[in-house]
Assembly symmetry: C2
Amino acid sequence: MGAVGKETDVVRQTRHHPAELDLIDRKILGALAEDASRSYAELSSIVNLSAPAVHDRVKRLKRDGVIKSTVAILDGCKLGRTLLTFLVVDTSSYNATRQLLTFVNRPEVEELHTVAGDGCVFVKVRAADTESLEEFLMEIQSLEGVRSLRSYIALSTFLERGPSPD
Amino acid sequence: MGAVGKETDVVRQTRHHPAELDLIDRKILGALAEDASRSYAELSSIVNLSAPAVHDRVKRLKRDGVIKSTVAILDGCKLGRTLLTFLVVDTSSYNATRQLLTFVNRPEVEELHTVAGDGCVFVKVRAADTESLEEFLMEIQSLEGVRSLRSYIALSTFLERGPSPD
DNA sequence: ATTTCAATCCGAACATTGTTCGGCTATAAT
DNA sequence: ATTATAGCCGAACAATGTTCGGATTGAAAT
């Protein structure tokens, strides 16, 4: 009983994703999530390891998919997108939901999720101005099977970042 | 009249941020927003310029704040955060709003905005599981001046990215 | 028309950083 | 005891980032 039970337990824990990360891994992840342009030399002094050791760890974290990618964060306003809005779309049919999913190609759409509650789709939109937002909203409302559409227009943004390792 | 009018017009346009970006700038921004680990050599072949020329442009884009930073994107699930939720908090006092803003320090909070509508705060939360989410929700509800709290739990994520230059 | 100025580009040299390698140590299993 | 594995290090090497001088262009001023 002891041996077999132990083994399956280990399998259970490992099966569904969560990677095993020690404190050093988390420090590295935190540092890179904040600023991915840090050199291995800088990281190595943060965690008190050599540069190659940090390199190995980062390589492993990328291979395991903990670090999905590294991207440049752009300033929406500087790009001419001044209006951040969150939409909750209530759809009455699967077809409508499917149609909404095609909006992932729009440059002003930054996030698109399905959320709990009957046929709800959640959208984060960064539009150029009120005009182009209105156009966008009307386009959604005119879809067959869109029951209601609530919008939350952002006034001030106090925090905007990705998943934290802490 | 002509000259003076013209000048103030130019000032107006420039005054409130939007940077002047040509097609090459936008191509570079798009490439880096997708994958910031691209080398200058690779970028130079994308836009048909030399590496130093691209370097100059990127340097300018950083100086002007169009590129705010470059960060590593981590996998929430791999970190043990499996539950993505959006909250709309309706506050009845400024004091309550101010208290909510202190949540920017929580590692599970990824976004925090004030939104239009009386005293509304919008929060993006990535919690470990339903338990820790419930704890978090209760903590918010127990704040003085929090009128209502709606939560949208994400089922599937189809798109998640930053501002696009297109 | 000519000149001046600023912006942009390029190739080539240079500096920094990323990456690989062999060897060392510690731990755990045989 | 001994083998295997994982993790670390310093040093060499490879790739990339970065700077520089000079050439070209276009616009503004003379």
